[in-house]
Subunit: 308 residues, 2 copies
């Protein structure tokens, strides 16, 4: 008998907010079951859906580390916990799968031990888990996966995080082509400086995006949801990316860019009908490049991780 | 007999929004009087308060060009207009004096000719006037001077401009030390690229600033109102800048940075009492560097240019 938690996939960056913004969708996501055990410490007894690509050693696994950090905080580092991890989303897909496992594990263990901690209070432990996978401390996946919503992470160190207003109806289409890109590889590709004029233009769009979301001005959101900084550098890793993007925009998507480090591509849409059309068109464009793909349609998930 | 218009000084950049944000204060500002004349074309008959430093030739003067552009738009390029310009603010001070003259002239001429155009409709003509002074097309002074408020200029070309919500009570202290910095000089000093990590941190602060303003979260405004990009490059032009800034922050200012291209320094404050204390402390700090200064205290001016 154990406690099962679900944590959703997330779209990191959202095009305009590299390393500082992310949003949660409803599906897919990971499930983690936590059980008490007589063997001291955290043990991962089973991982499904990862084709053997994820470590069973707790201290190398995002879910395992998150659980360990929570136990340490509770003053029970030797408490026996067993985790089953059911990856129900592709890994290395740009959908924040490592964060989802960390978020689900943290919540499941907290519930199992009846800590009474809120999800916001659990964030530091989940975040520690996520860090060992991403090679950095960006919160653009872990924050929305655990807490839900569209989030701005102003500062990682102090966890200065904020939720953006989401205009009614906003719907996300995410298309995952059947290929993998590692976060570390995608990050290594980025140039270490950007031209001042690009910086200024990006600033203008970013500020306008936040303003447009608050005012429910979707025209403004559409004009400003663009990434001239990171997207051009990473697009080369995704066959047919610009055709996929054009297909989404042609269907009326407000914006379309790479989800996290890719290869998933998201379209940010004013409503579910546009998202469905955009999603289908994006899949078609990938197919022209001989890439099978999977489509996920979802409103912004405002709940984040849940016990189920 | 003529029509007199007043247009206020402005704080361009507001630290966090280089070239894309600006706000209007209530005083100081420029006055322009427009009169009909029998001599065809725009003529500047008098400029006071500029110590002879501004051109009387209409096509070289921001007010003159703005008036010319408006006449051309109205299909009356030969219409005789005389302008008196009363500079009631220091030039090359970082307070947008060239924009204020252009804004006031545009409004005065429009009223004189009873065009029925709104200030938003007059913006393109005032902006054309401003361009000849600033050597660029940034709207961070002209937009707030004409229209008032705290503005985001997403795109200059399409004049995609937006007003930010201003939390109740916000008050600005601007201190102008008795020295001059030319906009072109200050701009030439800027590096043409910035490190990616600085860009990302700046993005996070900018998005948080907009969010904090909307939510009335002045703590967040205070944490995010900072400029690690342009301020460090321009601070060298202003003797004692960092002491002035520290003085303002010590008095509780939410943020303090260079107004436009400087040398004026502004403090963004939660209320008028803090602004007054911060302003006095800033003047004291400048005095230690043998710089006399003038202090302007003001809420955000929501009106912009007015007929008076």
């Amino acid at each position: 008998m154990g406690i099962k938690a679900f944590a959703p996939a997330t779209v990191g960056n959202i095009g305009i907010g590299f390393d500082i913004m992310g949003l949660a969708i409803e599906q897919p996501g990971d499930e983690v079951i936590a059980r008490l055990s007589n063997t001291p410490g955290v043990r991962i007894s089973n991982i499904t859906g990862a084709q053997g690509k994820l470590p069973l050693e707790a201290h190398l696994n995002t879910a395992g580390v998150a659980a360990q950090r929570l136990l340490a905080y509770l003053g029970e580092p030797g408490r026996g916990i067993e985790l089953d991890i059911h990856k129900k989303m592709p890994i290395n897909s740009g959908l924040g799968s490592s964060a989802a496992s960390a978020a689900a594990a943290t919540l499941a263990v907290s519930e199992l031990l009846r800590t009474g901690l809120s999800k916001r209070q659990l964030l530091p432990f989940a975040w520690e888990g996520e860090k060992i996978a991403s090679g950095g401390q960006q919160g653009d996946n872990i924050v929305p996966s655990l807490l839900g919503g569209i989030n701005l992470i102003r500062d990682n160190e102090s966890m200065d995080i904020h939720r953006l207003h989401v205009p009614r109806g906003v719907y996300i289409a995410v298309v995952h082509p059947q290929m993998e890109i590692g976060t570390r590889e995608a990050r290594a590709l980025l140039s270490t400086s950007i031209p001042m004029d690009v910086h200024i233009r990006h600033n203008a769009n970013l500020a306008a995006f936040v303003l447009g979301m608050f005012n429910g001005d979707l025209g403004l959101v559409g004009r400003s949801l663009r990434d001239d900084v990171v997207e051009p550098q990473r697009a080369v890793l995704i066959p047919g990316f610009y055709e996929v993007k054009e297909a989404a925009l042609n269907e009326g998507a407000l914006g379309c860019s790479i989800s996290g480090a890719g290869p998933s591509v998201f379209a940010f849409c004013a409503n579910s009908l546009i998202a469905e059309n955009a999603g289908a068109a994006m899949q078609k464009a990938f197919a022209k490049h001989k890439l099978e793909s999977r489509l996920y349609l979802s409103p912004v998930n405002q709940e984040g991780a849940v016990i189920c």
